[in-house]
């Protein structure tokens, strides 16, 4: 009797929870693909999906089918990848810093990417024919550079503790933002372009962006899921983690590197999309428990669902396209407040 009871008390990633999450993800993808193709008609797109699955004749013309598979589909997948990256990285950051307010941009990833993107917009000549444009490349390098700078600064200031690292991140963010603002101020004609990038969006994407971002995000996802248990051990504090045979400094380095790689890849293809990294892990935590063995994998899936739906809203809510970062905050904040309220009401 006792046996079965405490078995149930273990927070584990249950197959049923994963299956449910994946089913929701699939539903969100199909919904975004079908309902988001306004001018083609949702019944016809659904018919195309059915035709692809069963091998029958599609109701769409070849050109219309190309719109579905070459424009809509990669965009939905990219939204999923970016959402997974930001939410997974957010969960890792919250675990590493043992702080519920930590997000993937905390250590200068956003500021580094922002500064590098500004530099490219202002100074770099327009180039074409590269596999990746100079802007995503700069954003990727800038994001990783910002985090690396924070890490080095934190280390040189002493210790492998998180408080120093956090302060180093604040310093690096302030510095890089200052540089960006200064450069922007001298080149006011480019402000709109930089500003648009900063607000985030997926509006010019084909399969290329998916292939560019996928390897980094997949690698990071594997590392984060694999070391989710170590995040639980880190919550005990450094002394106890060390007494359990863990090297806290090394674990933090691996986790932050993986999370920052995912963040940089996401920033490179989508600009700065806020709120996903904080809201998704929190919702998962409130719904599924406090163990990172559950939070990390479900955040990856939940982030994908969230951003796919947010991107759907961004491109369909108004005649023009809304900045994705605006949608995530506008829709995410009230939803978060609601979940927070109901869960706090349940367990005082």
């Amino acid at each position: 009797m006792l046996r079965s009871r405490s078995r149930a008390a273990t927070t584990r990633l249950r197959p049923r929870a994963v299956a449910l999450a994946l089913a929701v993800l699939l539903a969100a993808m199909v919904f975004a693909l079908v309902a988001g193709s306004g001018e083609l008609g949702w019944q016809r797109v659904l018919g195309e999906l059915g035709a692809q699955l069963t091998g029958t004749t599609s109701p769409l013309s070849e050109r219309e089918a190309a719109i579905v598979w070459e424009l809509r589909m990669p965009r939905v997948l990219l939204a999923g990848l970016v959402g997974a990256a930001l939410a997974g990285a957010g969960a890792a950051f919250q675990g590493v810093f043992r702080n519920p307010l930590a997000d993937p941009y905390l250590l200068g990833a956003a500021a580094g990417a922002g500064m590098a993107a500004t530099m490219v917009v202002v100074f770099a000549p327009v180039v074409t024919g590269w596999l990746i444009g100079p802007l995503p490349l700069a954003a990727f390098a800038g994001a990783l550079g910002g985090v690396a700078l924070s890490w080095l600064l934190g280390r040189s200031a002493g210790g492998s503790g998180t408080a120093t690292l956090l302060l180093a991140g604040v310093a690096v963010t302030a510095f890089l933002t200052a540089v960006q603002t200064f450069v922007q101020q001298l080149n006011t004609d480019t402000i709109k372009q930089v500003y648009t990038w900063t607000l985030g969006g997926l509006n010019v994407t084909g399969w290329r962006d998916v292939w560019v971002a996928l390897p980094y995000i997949a690698l990071a996802a594997v590392v984060l899921c694999g070391s989710a248990r170590l995040l639980d051990v880190l919550t005990l504090g450094d002394a106890e983690a060390a007494s359990l045979g863990i090297r806290p400094g090394r674990v933090r380095l691996v986790l932050l590197a993986a999370a920052s790689l995912a963040t940089a890849a996401a920033v490179a293809v989508s600009g700065l999309i806020g709120f996903v990294g904080i809201v998704v892990p929190h919702v998962v935590r409130l719904l599924a428990g406090a163990s990172y063995r559950v939070i990390v994998p479900l955040s990856l899936i939940g982030g994908a669902v969230f951003l796919i739906l947010a991107d759907f809203v961004a491109r369909t809510a108004l005649p023009g396209e809304l900045p994705l970062g605006v949608v995530t905050a506008f829709a995410g904040a009230p939803f978060f407040a609601l979940v927070l309220r109901s869960s706090r009401g349940r367990t005082p």
Binding site: A9, T11, D232, T235, L236, A239, A242, S243, L244, S291
Partner: protein, 259 residues
């Protein structure tokens, strides 16, 4: 048999060590208590044995120098519970105790059924079975201390280092916890090294006392030998009388010199 052997151990964080030149031996299967006034270096000495503080001198575990062991090998030999353990928010008692199995797992390994069985067994031994699903932070002080003890016991080490295991407990809860710990360590043949601020409890449960003052060993031996009114005046600055219980254990009673 000797479970722990310290020779000329100095340890601390800055330039001036907190613990200086400590040499002692801890018998296998015994209960060894480190006592001393506030700031004497009791916790630092315990952390030094756990390998959490840089130190000079020799620390031998089961005859092997501690430096030759990896962090993980050490974690399989020594369990450590700090005075104020972090109790992660939202974690259930079972999940918390399961963390004690960490050194037994591979780098990315999941807990196996046997790890879960060990956790269940440990929870049952500490009467925590009914609380297995509860959130750690919703427990009472005594239950939390038991959960911490369960986590260390689930580590299944031959040596337990416990820093003030009765912190914040009233006399009844403290006694219950120490009784339970005494029973479990006898059943398992575990060596216990603990700091204890209550000298009467220390005298009742420990086989040996080490009196630490200002980082150095002031006295060590059987509790009845170590605890004298003179030493308590010298090292604690306390006016006391050392009485005896009906079983002959020393009881440290403070006395007032000025009425």
């Amino acid at each position: 048999m000797t479970a722990l052997h310290l020779a000329g151990v100095s340890a601390g964080y800055g330039t001036s060590p907190v613990v200086r030149g400590v040499s002692t031996e801890v018998d296998s299967g015994g209960w060894f208590a480190i006592v001393g006034p506030n700031g004497a270096g009791k916790s630092t000495l315990l952390k030094t044995i756990a390998g959490l503080v840089p130190h000079e001198g020799e620390v031998n575990l089961d005859g092997a120098p501690a430096q030759s062991l990896s962090r993980k090998e050490k974690a399989l030999l020594i369990g450590y519970a700090p005075q104020n353990p972090v109790l992660p928010d939202g974690l259930t008692v079972t999940d918390y105790v399961l963390l004690g199995r960490t050194p037994h797992l591979g780098f990315l390994a999941r807990e196996s059924g046997s790890d879960l069985s060990i956790v269940e067994e440990t929870l049952a031994r500490l009467d925590l079975g009914e609380l297995a699903e509860r959130k750690l932070r919703t427990l009472s002080g005594g239950e939390q201390q038991r959960a911490v003890l369960a986590r260390v016991l689930a580590q299944q080490t031959s040596v337990l280092l416990l820093d003030e295991p009765t912190t914040g407990l009233d006399i009844g809860h403290a006694q219950a916890l120490l009784e339970r710990l005494d029973r479990l360590r006898r059943e398992d043949g575990t060596t216990v090294v603990s700091t204890l601020h209550d000298l009467t409890f220390a005298a009742q449960y420990a086989d040996e006392l080490l009196l630490l003052d200002d980082g150095e060993v002031a006295a060590s031996g059987k509790p009845s030998e170590v605890l004298t009114a003179q030493r308590l005046r010298d090292h604690y600055g306390a006016d006391t009388e050392v009485l005896r219980t009906s079983e002959g254990h020393p009881v440290v009673a403070p006395v007032r010199t000025t009425p």
